[in-house]
Amino acid sequence: MNDSIVVLGIGNLLWADEGFGVRCIEALQQRYEFADHVRLVDGGTQGLYLLQHVQQADALLIFDAIDYGLPPGALRVIRDDEVPRFLGAKKMSLHQTGFQEVLSLAQFTGKFPKHVLLIGCQPEELDDYGGSLRPVVKAAMQTALTLAVQALTQWGAQPREREATLRRGDAVTLDELALAAYEAQRPAEQDACRIGDARFLLAGS
């Protein structure tokens, strides 16, 4: 039997570059098809609810926005035992604490993937509620997908370029939240406060 492979995007797509992980999964699915033992999961900020996806995986690939103190858009690839430490090293949003805990819980239950790979991207902007990826982060998605496809090939995921267009309803990320619609229908700035929490803005300026 083939090893079970799970590709997981985490983050909150309502907070600009926080959506990196989820948007990577969306794009990966639009461009590639995989063997049957590969599952793509839009994990959002689901924390504990993602436990079963981690437990089911023999190999786990994670996309996430992570603050490594690098220039915006910079990618880093982290492997295996390093992953939990990295997720916990500096947390910017709640789901990262949550996900670190999910990994340790999976360990506690004795069901932990043999391989874990984290493809992280340094965000440029998080305090933009309702906003989308910044251009530099969106551009980094291409490299992130290439890195992912390489790793997935090694794991035996058999990626191939998608021939048939993805049917409505089959997308892992809901059609209602698809990137293009999400960006195009955004309310105007005067209608919708985008600034988030004043304290963090002040701290950053």
Binding site: W15, G98, T109, Q185, A198
Partner: protein, 619 residues
């Protein structure tokens, strides 16, 4: 501020101030400040959501049929309830009624979430406030096995070897230095009163719960197509039914999948009966016998819920957990609650970081305004805009608004629903007899059955004394989980019967096309979310969202003071609780966690670097 009386509490902020920030093991970010008297008893409590929320504003101008997908992303816990509340609000505005199958499937998804969320909350987030994990290492597996058989004779997993295995696993985990989920505890604190065997039993059930919960959520995948973000749909449910169909991915729901759902419901019922409810009763008894009956707060006087689980769709008189409002602890009088009435549900911002033109008045959600105005202030405020040292509760001090019912602060949640249904039962409502039976059996277990078996003194508390406590709040959640699974089995049978009778309709799409909508419309949707009553209010104009307001359970419970100086439910629940050691806020965390707070949707989530451990500052 001089001491003053409100809602039966005397607030006195003259003693030393303890700050807990962040309050850990919750979704979102919250801070708590209390004043202690000379005996370390809490005499003033201030709770604040320290993050901004702005979900409503980003929905402006979008397609109302898409709103559910956005609200699913507000936070990581109540995904499904926000989505369901949203489609209900839109349907209400447009006059859409969903077919019976859709009603039943939605009910089952909501109840699955209820059972799942309650069990996960108790074992994963809340048990650690009652259970000393490290003490479990000292338990005798044989004695644990005996305790298990006493507490729950029909639970099959009870051998000494089974508990020894779990203990060894826990030991390896602790020895590895990676405490992981258990790294945030005050292990060894005298605020923990359980014997090591009870602690080991609880840790073991934590693992059992983790194992089962991942199967339960598959019910959402079957009906909602996706996990962890299931699909919802205005007008019904987005799944087709064909009992004889094959099981291919994306194929309609067939009998095989329905059988899977039925097996999960049976599993939930068994887990609640054999594990969850007995654990809460045993832990509750041991803490009650240690004299720990604190934390009731507003639940002793004022509780509210919109009412839920209609047996007949759109007929509120058939609700199986009927709603209303109880004030002043008068269980004989249940006030009707109408979320549409502009005089009933109102949000105030006198103590919240928002701006209204006239802040002496509250606004009904249809006319709600969310205009941020962050200005920490007041004579007792210490710190800067970016680094708060001490809040001043006489001024604005929270990102949470203060919702009130006809000007009254109320508590919401499973305990409130149970108090209301118990009161309805006492007034003769036949649909509430199961609730009464559960509550009476629990009181008997806590007062005499369990104490007798453990050789402890028996007590004679009434339901009205036991329920409004932190123990009661935790018990209310367990009983609701038990009842929800039972009701779900009835929904399941009704669904299968209805399909067998030839009805496979799952959606009403008569008004799917915006061309069929009125130029302007407004609606409200309500759901009994795991944390309490949830409402979404929507205004639609020219086919687009004009205004959207969510009043979430944690806004009710975590609300700051209002223009009359009334405190919110979190604040009230901490009042008059003694602390064993103010440096270790176990009691504060225990009571706050008993509400299952979810700050992510009552405020906005973005966290600065925080410590893993709740940080405590003594001033």
């Amino acid at each position: 501020m001089a001491a003053y009386e409100t809602q039966g509490f005397r607030l006195d902020n003259s003693g030393r101030r303890i700050v807990v920030d962040p309050v850990t093991r919750i979704e979102g970010h919250m801070r708590c400040e209390v004043n202690l008297d000379a005996n370390n008893v809490i005499r003033n409590a201030v709770s604040t959501g320290t993050m901004w929320r702005g979900l409503e504003v980003i929905l402006k101008g979008r397609d109302p049929r898409d709103a559910w997908a956005f609200v699913e992303r507000i936070c990581g816990v109540c995904t499904g309830c926000h989505a369901l509340t949203s489609v209900r609000a839109v349907e209400d505005a447009l006059g859409i009624r969903v077919p019976l199958n859709a009603h039943l499937i939605r009910e089952m998804m909501a109840k699955t979430l209820q059972v799942h969320d309650h069990a996960v909350h108790f074992y994963h987030l809340h048990a650690l406030d009652w259970v000393d994990v490290v003490s479990a290492l000292n338990a005798d597996p044989k004695a644990t096995s005996e305790l298990q058989q006493m507490v729950s004779p029909s639970h099959p997993l009870s051998s000494p070897g089974y508990f020894r295995d779990v203990q060894n696993r826990l030991k390896q985990f602790v020895d590895s230095g990676q405490l992981g989920p258990f790294s945030k505890g005050y292990w060894g604190s005298k605020a923990y009163v359980l014997p090591p065997e009870a602690n080991l039993m609880a840790v073991t059930h934590y693992l059992e719960a983790l194992d089962l919960q991942k199967e339960w959520v598959k019910v959402h995948t079957i009906f909602g197509g996706k996990n962890p973000h299931p699909n919802y749909m205005v007008g019904g449910v987005p799944c087709a039914i064909n009992l004889d169909g094959d099981g291919a991915a994306g194929a309609p729901i067939n009998m095989e999948r329905l059988n899977f759902v039925e097996a999960r419901i049976k599993e939930m019922i068994e887990f609640n009966n054999n594990v969850y409810v007995p654990d809460v009763l045993a832990i509750g008894t041991l803490y009650k016998n240690a004299g720990w009956l604190y934390g009731g707060g507003l639940s002793a006087t004022s509780v509210a819920d919109y009412g839920t689980y209609e047996k007949v769709p759109y007929d509120a008189s058939t609700q199986q957990l009927p709603g209303g409002v109880i004030l002043n602890g008068n269980w004989d009088e249940i006030h009707p609650l109408d979320p549409r009435d502009p005089e009933q549900v109102q949000e105030f911002v006198t103590h919240s970081w928002y701006k209204y033109a006239d802040e002496s008045r509250g606004l009904h959600p249809w006319d709600g305004v969310t205009e941020a105005h962050y200005a920490p202030e007041g004579p007792n405020f210490k710190g800067t805009r970016t680094q708060i040292e001490q809040l001043d509760e006489s001024a604005k001090y929270s990102w949470i608004k203060s919702p009130r019912w006809r000007g009254n602060a109320v508590e919401v949640g499973p305990l409130s629903r149970y108090i209301l249904s118990y009161a309805h039962a006492l007034k003769g409502n036949q649909r509430c007899q199961r609730v009464k039976e559960q509550v009476d059996a629990s009181a008997a277990a806590i007062n005499s059955v369990i104490p007798k078996a453990l050789g402890l003194p028996e007590t004679n508390y009434t339901a009205k004394q036991l329920l409004p406590t932190t123990i009661g709040r935790t018990l209310g959640r367990a009983l609701e989980s038990q009842y929800a699974a039972e009701m779900m089995m009835e929904d399941f049978r009704q669904l299968v019967d209805n399909i067998r009778n030839g009805d496979t309709t799952t959606a009403n799409v008569d008004k799917w096309d915006p061309a069929t909508w009125p130029k302007e419309a407004k609606g409200v949707g309500t759901v009994a979310a795991p944390r309490g009553m949830l409402g979404h209010w929507i205004k639609i104009k020219d086919g687009r969202i004009e205004n959207y307001q969510c009043v979430v359970p944690t806004t009710w419970n975590g609300s700051p003071r209002d223009p009359k100086g009334q405190i919110g439910a979190f604040e009230a629940s901490l009042m008059n609780t003694p602390m064993v050691n103010p440096e270790e806020p176990v009691e504060i965390l225990r009571t706050i966690h008993s509400f299952d707070p979810c700050l992510a949707c009552s405020t906005h989530v973005i966290s600065a670097d925080g410590q893993e451990m709740a940080r405590v500052t003594v001033r």
